[in-house]
């Protein structure tokens, strides 16, 4: 009797074997709840002591008298934009990392590593330094969007160049991609250096902080400058999932499966460049989020982009809030640039992926 019961219990499980969709959905719900908690904690922690409960209650109930006027300013004008910006940047870095890895069919393709962030940085620095002089008319034309837009253009040019260099006949050479990334990064570095040489003292201080990666200077205008770029991308990303899934089998097979590969590639490249550009424009070089987050999620819920992309957005936001919390606490009352935190954790992680994959593939 027990045997037949066991057999009955095993059969449906066997039919579903290898199907991780239910688990992936649960992970996404869990991450969403976890992000909400993290965001509240992030709002409540900082140089002034304001308890999380009172903050949430005050915001939800609208009873302003529960928190002081100072606390109101601290929370609404300093912490709120910082938390929102951190979430958007984390989500956008992780989603653009996952998209780029899908497009290049390689888990090591990260905008930070293959020079896309450097390209976006070059675009941003160009406008930070020259925006007040030579490029003033262009800067005026785009208003608060001029730095994000310049970063987008820089990122776009570099992503496109990288794809053209490392992909031939629908196959991407990993070695060529990484080496081209080094060359492109060096090139962007050289031009950025040249611009820094021209910069005046005020611009230099801005650039140094910006280059190390930070969300410390978050303001509502910065949030409003990148939100119209990042939020539509996060919303649109899941619609790329079918194409990214098909692309993992190679361009030819993706086409056989019904994907318009040329159009799809262009859309994906523009998306990666826009997301990376927006993040880089307001936060500088926050590295490795785009590689650590997708990799961790692929290990648990698998590489199906229908679930990977939303999960990346959520976990990316969580990770950035955590990194920001560490950056704020570790040398309090001073602050560490968040890029140092992500690189300290992310770089060894990248090496770990390399070591694990060394036996699997030709890198």
């Amino acid at each position: 009797m027990s045997i037949s019961l066991d057999a009955a219990a095993v059969r449906p499980a066997d039919a579903q074997a290898g199907d991780r969709t239910v688990f992936a959905r649960r992970v996404i719900v869990f991450l969403a709840i976890f992000l909400l908690i993290t965001a509240v904690l992030s709002l409540a922690s900082g140089a002034t002591d304001t308890s999380a409960v009172s903050v949430v209650w005050a915001l939800v109930s609208g009873q302003d008298d529960l928190i002081s006027a100072v606390e109101r300013v601290v929370i609404l004008d300093i912490r709120m934009p910082r938390t929102l910006l951190g979430m958007m940047i984390g989500a956008s870095l992780a989603v653009s990392g996952a998209t780029m890895q899908g497009l290049f069919r390689n888990p090591l393709a990260d905008p930070g590593i293959v020079g896309v962030s450097a390209g976006a940085g070059l675009g941003a620095v160009t406008f930070i330094v020259l925006g007040g002089s030579v490029l003033a008319p262009v800067a005026a034309l785009f208003g608060i969007y001029h730095v994000p837009f310049a970063a987008f253009l820089g990122g776009l040019a570099f992503t496109f160049a990288l794809y053209r260099i490392s992909t031939s006949n629908g196959r991407t050479s990993v070695a060529t991609m990484l080496l081209a990334g080094i060359a492109l990064g060096a090139m962007a570095g050289a031009f950025t250096g040249l611009l820094i040489f021209w910069a005046d003292d005020n611009q230099l201080r801005d650039l140094t902080f910006w280059g190390l990666g930070s969300v410390a200077g978050a303001t509502w205008p910065k949030v409003l400058a990148v939100a119209p770029i990042i939020l539509p991308i996060l919303f649109f990303a899941p619609f790329m999932a079918r194409g990214l899934n098909a692309m993992t089998l190679g361009e030819a097979t993706a086409q056989h499966l019904g994907i318009h590969v040329q159009v799809f590639k262009r859309v994906a490249i523009v998306m990666v460049a826009a997301a990376t550009g927006a993040a880089v424009a307001v936060s500088g070089g926050i590295g490795f989020v785009g590689i650590v987050v997708p990799h961790l999620l692929r290990l648990s819920i698998g590489p199906d982009h229908r679930y990977l992309l939303p999960a990346c957005a959520l976990l990316g936001a969580i990770m950035l809030l955590f990194a920001d919390a560490i950056a704020r606490q570790i040398v309090a009352p001073a602050e560490l640039p968040i890029g140092i935190v992500t690189a300290t954790v992310g770089a060894p992680f990248f090496l770990w992926i390399l070591l694990r994959r060394r036996g699997l593939m030709d890198i």
Binding site: P107, H260, G302
Partner: protein, 274 residues
């Protein structure tokens, strides 16, 4: 249902295909054979719309060169020679990729995936990681993915087509026969099958129509018995072959005459012949 007229393909400065004409009917199993470098894979890639070409290819009246990828995906599935995956997909998830276009069917998705895996003798492998399978197992999973895409040989009155590039190249004899049976049944049920094979005997046994290629041209096409003759095969492959039947009346076989010249058996006419 598949017609190709005057196909020319250039890769760089070299012309690989010099004006191919061929046709493959629905409910026919068409096999393309020929030596390495004769242009078989290039021809298949032109027929599936994967590479650019001069000439004209129509599948079910749809012009391959101008059709939308999604439209083509509902008409035909393509099994490439090799497919590698860089991410840790399970076998179940790889077969699900066949359902990308969503042009389907009454059956629900997990059931279809299970049927496709059973068809290639990979039932029970759904939960395994694709990257950890052997080469032959991966090849069968890829075929299951293609079958999941075009499961019904005829869908809403339209015959569909399977394009297979060396589908049995890394399989053992049991699974070679199994895959040939799948192709045979697909054709018998009204779908079209166009496959590149190297095994002349399996071609002789299973094909309805053979296209024999030599240096970017069609050297001969027709029923296996008309095309697989000792003269044709020696001209194309450059080695003497015997074609015979054991016992008489059964399917014929092709036998390479190894060291025939050294043993003084240079002429295929000396060998068993049908």
């Amino acid at each position: 249902m598949l017609t190709a007229k005057n196909i020319h393909v250039r890769l760089g400065k070299t012309e690989i295909l010099h004006g191919i004409d061929m046709a493959a009917s629905q409910d026919h199993f068409t096999v393309i054979i020929g030596p390495n470098g004769s242009g078989k894979t290039t021809l298949l890639r032109a027929l599936t719309g994967e590479i650019g070409f001069d000439g004209d290819v129509h599948l079910n009246g749809v012009n391959i060169a101008s059709a939308r990828p999604a439209e083509l995906a509902s008409l035909r599935g393509v099994l490439p020679q090799a497919a590698s995956l860089s991410f840790p997909f399970t076998v179940h998830e790889v077969v699900r990729l066949g359902l990308t276009t969503g042009v389907q069917t009454g059956t629900d998705v997990p059931e279809r995936i299970g049927q496709a895996l059973d068809a290639v003798d990979m039932g029970g492998f759904g939960g395994r990681l694709y990257q950890e399978l052997s080469g032959g197992e991966q090849q069968r999973v890829q075929l299951a993915r293609v079958l999941a895409q075009v499961w019904e040989p005829v869908f809403e009155g339209m015959p569909r087509c399977l394009f297979l590039d060396e589908p049995i190249s890394s399989l053992d004899i049991k699974h070679q026969l199994q895959i040939m049976q799948i192709a045979r049944r697909y054709a018998d049920a009204g779908g079209g099958v166009v496959a590149i094979l190297h095994d002349l005997n399996l071609t002789a046994h299973y094909a309805d129509h053979v296209v024999l290629m030599k240096q970017g041209e069609v050297h001969g096409c027709g029923a296996p018995r008309e095309v697989l003759t000792p003269d044709n095969l020696e001209t194309v492959y450059g080695c003497p072959m015997a074609v015979g039947q054991v016992p008489p009346g059964m399917d014929f076989f092709v036998l390479p005459l190894i060291d025939a010249a050294r043993r003084g058996l240079a002429s295929p006419k000396l060998a068993v012949s049908n």
